[in-house]
């Protein structure tokens, strides 16, 4: 039963998340012509490689993180 309630809450929360977070951010990014993800070829680039983001701090610390 607890699981059912949890699932119900999650189901209700998703449209709210979409309307309050995804929609405004997406619209705002469109307005300022920014994109998180490039979706087309870029003939001006010589390479699509991205530098690996350097992480600060000790290796152990990084392994403790979920991000």
């Amino acid at each position: 039963m607890t699981n059912q309630i949890k699932k119900g809450i999650v189901s209700c929360f998703i449209p709210i998340l979409y309307l309050l977070i995804i929609c405004p951010i997406s619209i705002l990014l469109r307005l300022i012509n920014k994109k998180f993800i490039p979706t087309k070829f870029d003939q001006n680039k010589n390479s699509y490689w991205l530098l690996k983001h350097e992480k600060n701090g000790e290796e152990t610390e990084d392994f403790n993180k979920q991000f």
Partner: protein
């Protein structure tokens, strides 16, 4: 120091146990649960790892999960923002999965670990590696190299789809990456899906099908779908792909480009389907070659190690060697996500804890025989419980009898020693046949494996005789490399034979080993070594002695849609449910005609087609 590596919740869950840097046990969850590509928490695999080493969970110093869940969630949100306003249904379903469980992954893992013990401080013991670091670690640390360039290519991890770096001693440094949605793995999977095969399992079929076609769509693919730079980096035009914001891999625009809707599963395969398969295979090979060339040049290394699902493309791996682009190559046998469990454990030991690494000149995978094994006593007890009729033979007699049965055209189930870790059967859980038989490919495909007739079979060859039979001079113990059969063993095609197209090519005998020679004279080779699998080596040696042929057909011990068998019980059920003639488990030998007919079952219907 005891470290448990876990991969789970996407596909191919697995667990690995590392003791003082040695890989002591590794297994995929599907082999225990009998659910192909099982993605659930690998409870049974963990239990096996602990039992095998007679350890309790409290003995474990660290548990490492193979990827970072919050980074993945970040990718998901940003992807939805980028593809807005389309894809709400996809958003709803993926968010439901995430918000119900995946976002609380750490809590979920601790809850599962607490079921095994309440004594350990799981919050401190549980650590996380990045997905591609796990792949890189699985490729470099067990390799036979002190230093090497590392290339990982797969569908997607958190953000990364491709990465490269360098491994030296116990260090790994990743330099550059390519990010989602631009993915060679997903490009290949998009074609897999378009040609009517299942994503994450049908890619092998596409690779096998490619040999029947002509790569006439290469330019169309490169002009429209993927932009490849000189350094091998690439980007996809996402207007052709649906996987960013829907449950479809390809969009209508993709279908228009190639002139039709996706092929329906299980319908006839046309010449066009084969040409498409050949085309995407060639594009993949070209990208892999460019990537490898660039990575070796940038790092100044002579050795290359590979992991990630695309590293299972053994045709591309074979081309790397054939073109002489790389001096030494080593490919992780469990290159897919299951191997992430192994990589996570290794990354914890060497990268996080900075432990010293001793290089094993053969490699540290022990032939990839890292799974469960059964004693002769356990096998006999199990077979008696199942009502099987069997004989027990001494080693020498067993080998001779098995070889004679193979020579007489029998399909033999071969269940010995520790189960393999990774997608390939390497002579521990294999179905064997005589490669000289012109009928064997068809018989095994249709009557034993119940799979598509076009799929080729792999040869197991004594390593000592490799250069006499194939154009390959390097070890391939994990079936990771495709090479061609030597010209002296090929049969010339005459007159009208040369005009055969598509599937008709299947019925032409191309060599003295027709059952393992693909239509382009290639074969996915497994070199067999006395050191890692003495019994299998002895069997092939006996076959060689009797026939002058040091090769056997080796295909995985399962039917279509079924995980490879694990226990003697699984093996017996598969034996009784197919047209397999003989089963050899340990020193027990079972013939089909001796079995109680009431034990036959409709086995096929237990498994969904893959």
């Amino acid at each position: 120091m005891k470290i448990l590596g876990i991969s789970a919740f996407y596909h191919d869950s697995a667990a690995t146990l590392l003791v003082d840097g040695k890989i002591v046990a590794s297994a995929q969850e599907e082999r225990f649960t009998r659910i192909k590509h099982d993605k659930n928490y690998p409870k049974e695999s963990i239990k096996f790892c602990l039992d095998y080493c007679k350890l309790s969970i409290d003995d474990i110093d660290y548990v490492c999960f193979y990827e970072k869940p919050f980074m993945k969630f970040d990718r998901l949100i940003k992807t939805h923002v980028s593809f807005f306003p389309s894809g709400y249904r996809y958003f709803k379903e993926s968010m439901f999965e995430w918000l119900s469980s995946k976002i609380f992954l750490k809590r979920q893992l601790i809850k599962e670990l607490k079921k095994l013990s309440l004594n350990s401080k799981w919050n401190e013991k549980l650590v996380f590696s990045e997905h591609h670091l796990s792949h890189a670690a699985s490729a470099f640390y067990p390799s036979p190299f002190e230093s090497a360039a590392i290339l990982t290519i797969d569908g997607v991890g958190e953000w990364t789809t491709t990465s490269y770096g360098v491994g030296k001693g116990n260090k790994i440094d990743i330099f550059k990456e390519i990010h989602f949605p631009h993915s060679l793995g997903l490009l290949y999977s998009a074609f897999t899906s378009y040609l009517g095969f299942k994503v994450n399992s049908g890619e092998y079929k596409l690779m096998g099908l490619a040999a029947y076609g002509d790569p006439i769509y290469v330019d169309l693919i490169k002009d429209n779908l993927v932009d490849i730079k000189d350094d091998g980096s690439f980007r996809l035009d996402m207007s052709y792909f649906g996987y960013g914001n829907s449950f479809q891999m390809t969009t209508k625009k993709f279908h228009i480009l190639f002139g039709s809707a996706p092929r329906k599963p299980e319908t006839d395969i046309s010449q066009r389907d084969m040409d498409l398969a050949a085309s995407i295979q060639l594009v993949t090979e070209q990208i892999v070659m460019k990537l490898s060339q660039f990575v070796l040049k940038e790092t100044g290394e002579r050795n290359l190690v590979l992991a990630g699902g695309v590293a299972l493309n053994c045709v591309a791996n074979g081309k790397l060697l054939k073109e002489g682009l790389v001096e030494n190559i080593w490919i992780q046998p469990a290159a897919g996500d299951a191997g992430g469990a192994l990589g996570a454990a290794l990354a914890t030991y060497y990268k996080m804890l900075k432990k010293h690494r001793n290089v094993n000149k053969d490699d540290s995978m022990q032939g990839s025989y890292l799974g469960p094994e059964f004693t002769q006593e356990e096998v006999e007890r199990s077979l008696n419980d199942l009502g099987a009729n069997f004989s027990v033979l001494e080693d020498e007699d067993l080998l001779k009898t098995t070889c004679n049965l193979l020579i007489n055209g029998k399909a033999v189930g071969w269940h010995q020693g520790r189960m393999e870790f990774g997608p390939r059967a390497l002579g521990s859980r294999s179905i064997l046949g005589d490669p000289r038989s012109p009928e064997m490919q068809k018989t095994l495909n249709l009557k034993v494996k119940y799979r598509e007739s076009f799929r080729p079979f792999a040869p197991s060859i004594l390593y000592e005789t490799l250069s006499e039979w194939f154009d390959l001079d390097t070890k391939s113990p994990y079936m990771g490399i495709v090479s061609e059969i030597k010209k002296i063993h090929r049969k010339d095609l005459h007159g009208k034979d040369k005009n055969f197209f598509g599937m008709d090519k299947l019925y032409l005998q191309r060599s003295s080993l027709p059952a393992i020679t693909h239509v382009d004279y290639s074969a996915r080779i497994q070199t067999v070594h006395k050191k890692t699998n003495p019994k299998y080596h002895a069997l092939i040696s006996k076959f060689y002695e009797l026939t002058d042929c040091p090769v056997l057909i080796n295909t995985s011990f399962n039917i279509r849609g079924e995980p490879i068998v694990n226990s003697p019980k699984d093996a017996f059920r598969c034996f009784m449910g197919t047209d397999m003639d003989v089963l050899v488990i340990g020193n027990c030998i079972l013939k089909k005609e001796d079995q109680d007919s009431s034990l036959f079952e409709d086995y096929k219907s237990h498994f969904k087609l893959d």
